[in-house]
């Protein structure tokens, strides 16, 4: 039922199922390490949010909820196009997969563009931590700490996005080159897992940085 071209089966696997399951297991383990990587930052953020509730609320209130919401919608759309790309691959419509992957990459770039627009605004408002940081707030210290975490966490997320975009483009071209078929598209599935994971991280970032200060 499942027979990729012989060249796709690496020699140390005995069956295609074994290869496919191994790749999927490997990707899930990798995502577990990513959870721990972001988890460390989320933990530290939670600790300081408890120490400095006011300063962190103020930081969150300074975020542009409009740009954040648009960006969330943009990123969720890219998850949809990614899911559709894999669905099309399973259905054997690989030209469509190719198009949808490129669309995913474009939407991902749009996300980064909006994100960097926000960064530029923070820069103009002297909100980049370090010697350039300026604030007249009585909670300036806590506010700066908020921005440290904001830049560290959204920055790490943006790094993951950039890697993801590069991979999506790479696999789009592999798809166009005829490397995949409805019987063999395991790398695309693994890529999809990664892309959705990075999206989910953003959902949490959106909640802690943008939504939590809305009431102030």
């Amino acid at each position: 039922m499942f027979s990729p071209p012989a060249s796709m089966l690496r020699e140390h696997y005995s069956t295609p199922e074994q290869q496919r399951e191994t790749v999927t297991v490997g990707m899930w383990i990798f995502l577990a390490t990513e959870v721990m990587l972001f988890g460390g930052l989320f933990t530290a953020f939670a600790v300081y949010r408890m120490y400095y509730t006011r300063g962190f609320d103020q930081g969150s209130a300074e975020m542009s909820i409009l740009l954040g919401s648009i960006n969330t919608a943009v990123l969720l759309t890219s998850s949809l196009t990614m899911a559709l790309a894999i669905y099309s691959a399973a259905a054997g419509r690989l030209l469509r997969t190719y198009g949808l992957l490129l669309l995913t990459a474009v939407i991902g770039i749009a996300f980064l563009a909006i994100k960097f627009t926000e960064y530029y605004q923070h820069y103009q408002q002297h909100k980049v931590p370090g010697v350039w940081f300026e604030s007249s707030s009585p909670d300036a210290g806590a506010l700066q700490l908020f921005y440290v975490f904001y830049f560290a966490m959204t920055g790490l997320h943006a790094v993951h996005m950039s890697i993801g975009i590069a991979l999506v483009v790479f696999y789009a071209f592999r798809t166009a080159a005829g490397r995949f078929s409805s019987e063999y598209y395991t790398p695309l599935e693994a890529l999809g897992l990664y892309w959705h994971f990075v999206d989910i991280v953003w959902i949490f970032l959106f909640a802690i940085f943008y939504i939590s200060g809305l009431h102030t």
């Binding site: 297991v25 383990i29 577990a32 460390g40 930052l41 530290a44 600790v47 300081y48 700066q144 700490l145």
Partner: protein, 544 residues
């Protein structure tokens, strides 16, 4: 007789060592056995570099005054000793050498799940190591291997960011290895190799790999925050800027305590194999030993706060961490008792690997029991940051892991190299290591209990005789470590050819030729027996 030798020669001509030749075939190999050897050379190099730092420290401590090196240099010596030994020797030592070589063979696979990732891990590890060595030559680091803030982020004038970057990078090698092992053990087992037929070596490495993938990313992100704070001078951990230095300790030990089990679980893996092979009996209570490995990995994640009893954490969390630390002793004790019970009524023989295994059991027990002293809230306050702690973890790391590493290297050397090592001198070296080790570190228990703090270059004269004993022991220990290096290199060329199964041991790795062919087995083995079926083997021999 001559035909047997001819057969052996023929097998060796077709081995993973000789099938391809040239430096390129080594540097671009994806064969797990060759990558294991690349790692072996690298960790051996780092071991001796770290050892030179230790020897210089011991020489400085020969006299009470700071006369050989300055206090600042001494700080750098113990920092670099710790950093290199922990991250560039102990963590990769057994998993990346013996584990890499044996895991696919023991489960009857042709290779690990992701061979290219396996090679990438070695390059990543080397890149991290070279960056750390570069920081050493640019002036070193003086923070200790623990990088405690705020010293590491505000006050230290040394190459903190360089060293942290090297460790950060090498962490990804650990993650790649752990990921590879878990996927391999889950998906690549030969037909009939069920979970409860796996050698205990595999169970222990599985537990180790879980820690690799779940703990290492936390270290990565902690070092990232440390570097951000130091470079941009923003307060993540710095109290004057609103940060919390104790949070750094929490996050550091959240990785570094489980990392202690990364270092010792593979040692336990090796000892389970050795004890069974040289008492010619199945390991007593297989299931208990298997689950002990898993529970050590799980409990290991819940006890990090016992490094911080005096750091100002709440007394209630201290009590919680104390109780859980006691709990870790339960699976560790299960292992020790089960190894001992395996010896009971076994036909024990005293080849070199067995000497190391027995040494491990004794020294690990002492190291583990003194760990319980440190888990007790009251006693810990008295001995925190003294030589008692130093002696305790060296009994686990050196008396445990290094002994197991050497024992495993001797045991599997015929498989790795296709040659036998010289038995007489290697027994002598095992005894030298054991004596030298105890002479080095036992006096340190006494020193610590009497109040000698760690990380000091000078000390009151009344401690001198204990320090002299310790330095003398370190010299003997050094000799004990150089001897295997020499005779292993000698036997690589001149040792007698090894048969496929020189120890008449069970285990799939012994069913193929020594050294094995690149694809490990001529045909994929089919497993019909439990591990350590020495009783069945005896039966078969009787029938023959």
């Amino acid at each position: 007789m001559s035909t047997t030798i001819a057969k052996l020669r023929a097998a060796q001509a077709h081995s993973y060592l000789t099938e391809q030749r040239g430096i390129r075939s080594w540097l671009l190999t994806t064969d797990h056995k060759r990558i294991a050897l690349l790692y072996t050379f690298s960790v051996t190099g780092f071991f001796f570099i770290g050892g030179v730092f230790a020897l210089l420290m011991r020489l400085e401590l020969l006299t009470p005054a700071t006369d050989l090196v300055s206090a600042h240099t001494y700080n750098e010596l113990f920092s670099m000793h710790g950093i290199i030994m922990v991250w560039f020797f102990l963590i990769p030592s057994i998993p990346n050498t013996l584990g890499n070589f044996l895991i696919p063979m023991m489960i009857g696979a042709k290779d690990v799940a992701f061979p290219k990732l396996n090679l990438a891990s070695w390059y990543v590890y080397m890149a991290g190591g070279i960056i750390v060595l570069y920081s050493v030559f640019r002036g070193g680091v003086d923070t200790g291997w623990t990088f405690y803030t705020p010293f590491s982020t505000v006050y230290s004038q040394t190459y903190v960011v360089g060293a942290a970057l090297g460790i950060f990078i090498s962490g990804f090698a650990s993650i790649m290895t752990g990921l590879n092992f878990i996927a391999t053990i889950h998906r690549l087992r030969a037909p009939g190799m069920t979970w409860f037929r796996l050698p205990l070596f595999i169970w222990s490495h599985y537990a180790t790999s879980v820690i690799f993938v779940l703990a290492t990313p936390v270290l990565a992100v902690t070092l990232l925050m440390l570097a951000v704070e130091r470079i941009f001078q923003v307060g993540i951990f710095s109290a004057p800027l609103g940060g919390d230095p104790v949070l750094f300790q929490h996050m550091f030990w959240f990785y570094s305590h489980p990392a202690v089990y990364i270092m010792v679980l593979p040692g336990m893996a090796v000892v389970s194999e050795l004890v069974a092979a040289f008492s010619r009996k199945a390991v007593f209570g297989y299931t208990f030993v298997a689950f002990a490995s898993v529970s050590i990995a799980v409990l290991g994640f819940l006890v990090w706060g016992h490094h911080m009893f005096v750091a100002g954490q709440s007394v209630y969390s201290a009590m919680y961490f104390s109780v859980l630390s006691y709990l870790v002793a339960v699976p560790s004790a299960i292992k020790v008792f089960n190894w001992t019970a395996t010896l009971y009524k076994g036909s024990i023989s005293w080849e070199t690997p067995m000497l190391y295994a027995i040494g491990f059991i004794g020294l690990f027990t002492i190291g583990g029991m003194t760990g319980l002293f440190l888990a007790a809230l009251g006693i810990d306050v008295h001995v925190t940051d003294t030589y008692f702690v130093v002696a305790h973890f060296h009994y686990i790391m050196v008396g445990g892991t290094v002994m197991a590493y050497l024992g495993g290297m001797h045991y599997w050397w015929p498989k790795i190299s296709g040659r036998m090592y010289p038995e007489g001198i290697s027994k002598l070296s095992a005894l030298t290591v054991f004596l030298g080790f105890n002479l080095t570190f036992f006096p340190q228990f006494v020193l610590g209990y009497l109040g000698m703090p760690r990380r000091y270059a000078a000390y009151p004269p009344e401690f001198q005789y204990l320090h002299i004993l310790s330095t003398a022991g370190a010299t003997i220990l050094g000799v004990g470590y150089i001897m295997p290096l020499i005779y292993f290199l000698w036997s690589w060329h001149y040792g007698p050819a090894a048969p496929p199964n020189p120890w008449r041991a069970t285990g799939l790795e012994w069913q193929t030729s020594s050294p094995p062919p690149t694809e490990n087995f001529e045909t994929t083995p089919i497993v019909t027996h439990k591990a350590y079926d020495y009783a069945g083997m005896k039966e078969e021999l009787r029938l023959v």
